[in-house]
């Protein structure tokens, strides 16, 4: 393909200034991506504004590979909301539905029980030993919208790291050798 030929030609003829320009362009692209991500975090009020669904516990609504848009907001947690939460000893956040809410009279303290739609049991088996409820600090956001299938590529990349390296290598090569 002429594409690869072009890239190799441009690699052979480089000057210091040209290289610096390419590195700065690459840095700008990475920085803009980071800025957009942080901006989304501010706008949605959640630590992770977008998550990928990893398990089948919310089928048939959410399949593995779907992307969920999250928002935190000030409204209190109510039954039926789909929330994303972290358990102390687990690193992967879980996306399940709230089925029980007990809110104390002083409003800020709230006990929440969650369950995946497709699971038979509630999430007490997933919580830390001795933990019966979730509180406000465990919950990272509420799902408000979703896109099907789009996140599947991140699952592929996580399960086959080789593909991740190949993809990043190819993108890096592309960025460095582009003529503009």
């Amino acid at each position: 393909m002429g594409f690869i030929g072009d890239s190799i030609d441009s690699l052979k003829s480089f000057s210091v200034r040209h290289t610096i320009e390419q590195v700065i362009t690459l840095g700008m692209i990475v920085s803009s991506a980071l800025i957009i991500w942080k901006f989304l975090m501010c706008v949605t009020g959640s630590e992770s504004p977008v998550v990928v669904v990893l398990s089948e516990s919310m089928e048939p609504a959410f399949q593995r590979g779907d992307i969920l848009f999250l928002r935190m907001g000030e409204d209190p947690i109510r039954a039926g909301e789909i929330v994303v939460f972290n358990i102390d000893r687990r690193e992967i956040p879980i996306v399940h539905r709230v089925i029980k809410v007990h809110e104390r009279n002083d409003t800020r303290y709230i006990d929440v029980l969650t369950k995946g739609d497709n699971n038979d049991q509630d999430d007490r088996v997933l919580y830390a030993p001795g933990q019966q409820w979730l509180q406000h600090e465990h919950i990272m956001g509420r799902a408000v919208g979703f896109l099907p299938y789009v996140g599947y590529i991140t699952i592929i990349m996580t399960e086959n790291p080789i593909i991740k390296y190949i993809l990043i290598g190819a993108l890096g090569l592309l960025a460095i050798t582009s003529k503009d």
Binding site: G2, A61, G80, I82, V101, E103, V144, F146
Partner: protein
């Protein structure tokens, strides 16, 4: 400028942009729908009403739930998740919501239903406050689209009361 690589890149970017636009429009079309759902709930029997050894009250109920949720479905709807929650307040907790039953409705035809069932999830209070307690049965639904924004709403059915004494 006209190599395969550039053309493939332009095509991919364009198609992804159009796809995103179509998903957004599909989701926006859901706002045109104005639903008019109806529901009734009856408690057929209080099977069990005890104080557990932990000190918390527990109720076992048999319920008759009928609803017509067909107006919630649009062409962009993947499924409707419906659940029935008992909502009440106690001296200690200003709000308690306990889900008693839930179901998934994948098709519009199944959205008009009537079911007699025991409560799927245990109705347990935090404490012993349920005797003679007034409560609402609230039918909640969550419309999950094929793509885009999810809609949730509820119908409050007040006027239920638990027995004055254990049985």
């Amino acid at each position: 400028m006209h190599s395969f690589g550039y053309r493939a890149n332009a095509l991919l970017t364009f198609s992804l942009t159009i796809l995103a636009l179509i998903c957004a429009m599909a989701s926006l079309s859901d706002n045109l729908n104005s639903p008019s759902p109806t529901a009734t709930v009856q408690i057929l029997n209080v099977n069990r009403f005890q104080k557990k050894s932990s000190g918390d009250d527990e109720v076992g109920l048999t319920l008759d739930i009928s609803a017509d949720l067909q107006s919630l479905f649009t062409w962009n709807t993947k499924q409707v998740f419906v659940f029935l929650a008992a909502e009440y307040s106690t001296p200690r907790n200003s709000l308690n919501q306990v889900s008693l039953w839930d179901g998934i409705i994948p098709l519009k035809e199944d959205a008009k239903f009537s079911t007699k069932t025991k409560n799927k999830y245990r109705f347990i209070d935090q404490g012993s406050n349920l005797r003679g307690r007034d409560f609402n049965m609230t039918l909640h639904w969550h419309v999950m689209p094929k793509t885009g924004k999810m809609f949730a709403d509820k119908l409050v059915l007040p006027g239920f009361r638990l027995p004055e004494s254990y049985r």
